[in-house]
Point group: C2
Chain length 408, copies 2
Amino acid sequence: MKQGTSIQRGANDPGLINQGRRQILLGSAGAMAAVSLLGFAPLAKAEEPKTLPDYAAWKERNALIVHSTNTMETRRDAIGQGVVTPSDRLFVRNNLPTPPESIVADRDAWEVRIEGVKNPKTMTIGELKDIGVTTTASVLQCSGNGRAFFPHGAGGTQWSVGAAGCVMWTGVPLKDVVAALGGMADGMEYITSTGGEELPDGLDPKQVTVERSVPTRALENALLAWEMNDEPLPLTHGGPLRMVVPGFYGVNNVKYVKQVAFTENQTDVKIQASSYRIRDVGEKGSPDQPSMWEMNVKSWVTSPLETGTSGRNMIYGVALGGTVPLDKVEVSIDGGKSWKAARFLGPDLGPFAWRPFVMATDLSPGEYRIVSKATDVEGNSQPEGRIDNERGYGHNGWSDHGVTVAVS
Amino acid sequence: MKQGTSIQRGANDPGLINQGRRQILLGSAGAMAAVSLLGFAPLAKAEEPKTLPDYAAWKERNALIVHSTNTMETRRDAIGQGVVTPSDRLFVRNNLPTPPESIVADRDAWEVRIEGVKNPKTMTIGELKDIGVTTTASVLQCSGNGRAFFPHGAGGTQWSVGAAGCVMWTGVPLKDVVAALGGMADGMEYITSTGGEELPDGLDPKQVTVERSVPTRALENALLAWEMNDEPLPLTHGGPLRMVVPGFYGVNNVKYVKQVAFTENQTDVKIQASSYRIRDVGEKGSPDQPSMWEMNVKSWVTSPLETGTSGRNMIYGVALGGTVPLDKVEVSIDGGKSWKAARFLGPDLGPFAWRPFVMATDLSPGEYRIVSKATDVEGNSQPEGRIDNERGYGHNGWSDHGVTVAVS
């Protein structure tokens, strides 16, 4: 029944266990050999075999579903029960082609322009490192995580549950940078971050530039991060420097950040003005619609996924509260008719982190619909259904995220 | 000044940053190429170049000082500021040759005998996984960490500061196993764990068997762990199953554990009866001397280590309280004449975890003796000097653990 839990993962694969990443990095031979041993086989059948793009070649292929060169999600059975997602299992979603490795050749020399403060300044990472440092655990999740569950076929990557992970970010608190530059200029309402990607030729910058505005309420927790999970921030994930807005959807965590501006208004580039907006099916995007900022409360089961053995079973999953601490997670093995409290597993890394949970239950032979429902300390709880919207954003309905398990 | 911090590490090595472990695992070519770029060069000069033994070939060579086939420590400049030590940087210390990989071929089938309970039983890991699960962060530290600082030349591996790391352990709480077996038998005072290593031919088992007894007060937090840092416990670190006693020195965390017995007395094997005992220089070991059980409060600086640049500097380090939560860490840049409070960095993973700390300070050109001193919530603080003892165990004196930094 534990197939696919991190506990079981690699259980029959001493090579993977003992050579760790080397086994994976042997390439297709090693990787393919591993697949059948990792317990991922059932899901693997559903996919086209795709290789990892060069910029993500260091990732653990067997832990990922490769949707495209710019989109890879963590397999549901590879999420594990860890309080932090290992970097090589974390999902990848890029809006533009990844910049060349040359931008991480001399990390401390990377420059970021700070505007909309009393004393605007261009600063290097080396300078930022002497202003201050903090480490924050926060969930990185794509706005479209769960899109695959929408019946109307929302366009875009068909993410299931794996466009999310919990990451330990290290960098300078943005508020410390602002304080060092004389404070925010008067009348500013938004923090507008601009990515350093080179724009494809012949395209209107307003259509493709990755530039996101978040309300200044995000300043309290935002950081400019140069490290992820205690290693220099990989280029794959926005290195050398990334804007991190704990508790906000992934798109707001601008990669290769080259400018952070405090502004009176939101930027008018497409990714802010009309994209990443919650709107009815069929409607066009516009600035008056809700933008994908704070994440909502959410959870999903990670094990068991398809089969279980009769007797005592451990049901595992992960839950997040967005910007609000979690209060509890309940699990149902009868599709939501009855619920029992699950227990959080491992240390609490703070309000923006996710929390693995576990619930022990006895299962007799039969089929079970296992669902989980998280509630935060403000009483917000996951709805049963989904809120249909054109782009399939922000799905946290507990019903769609459940799993059907056959116990023999 | 940040040379060797995890922030800086690999700063000029996009390969390492983007291909991560693959770069390392390319072997000598890749590894040697990396060395000069990782900022470890100064320390590297001091060592004999040694390759990693096969059972630890998956480790990050450039993060380790290889003392012998059975002993590898984390370089002081590779410890980083993370709340958890990445598995491939964690120190290694084996008392006997590592068992064959075949013992992790079918992890759930591994058997451990539980004795000294009302209903003694042999249980498989698969069965243990259905009893319960917990995840605990705890420092794993060799009793002889810091031995290199003893002037009398205590025998054994000359560990500096790197025979320690903070690990996330997942397994079943031992007290849950005891409860499932009817409770502890009457009159038992110790938990005696036996390792599953095959003993070298022709040696008296009492001289070589890895079997350790800890007081039953350790039952409250002990676990039988099958996972480390969210991956199946590597054979290198005691997989498939290890006895973990949070807050106790490494030797008590018996690898490949095949029996856990609740006993009236401590085992009489050498590693318990006379080894790992605190005794005066020149004295022989005996059962009446203090055994290496609970760890003491300790800290050390990890950056800067040798050189700094004038102006504002960030001083980083790690601190642990053993079994007692930390209260504070103070840092001195004048060899202990004056002290300033450092700030803990990142989330608190609980009483048995270490805590990275940081202190910002302005340094003008000159030479500085930077030392750190941790104090736990019970008021225990690191002594200035060392407590000389025959085997060089338990060194937590702040003076020896300091670093001399030249600022230009």
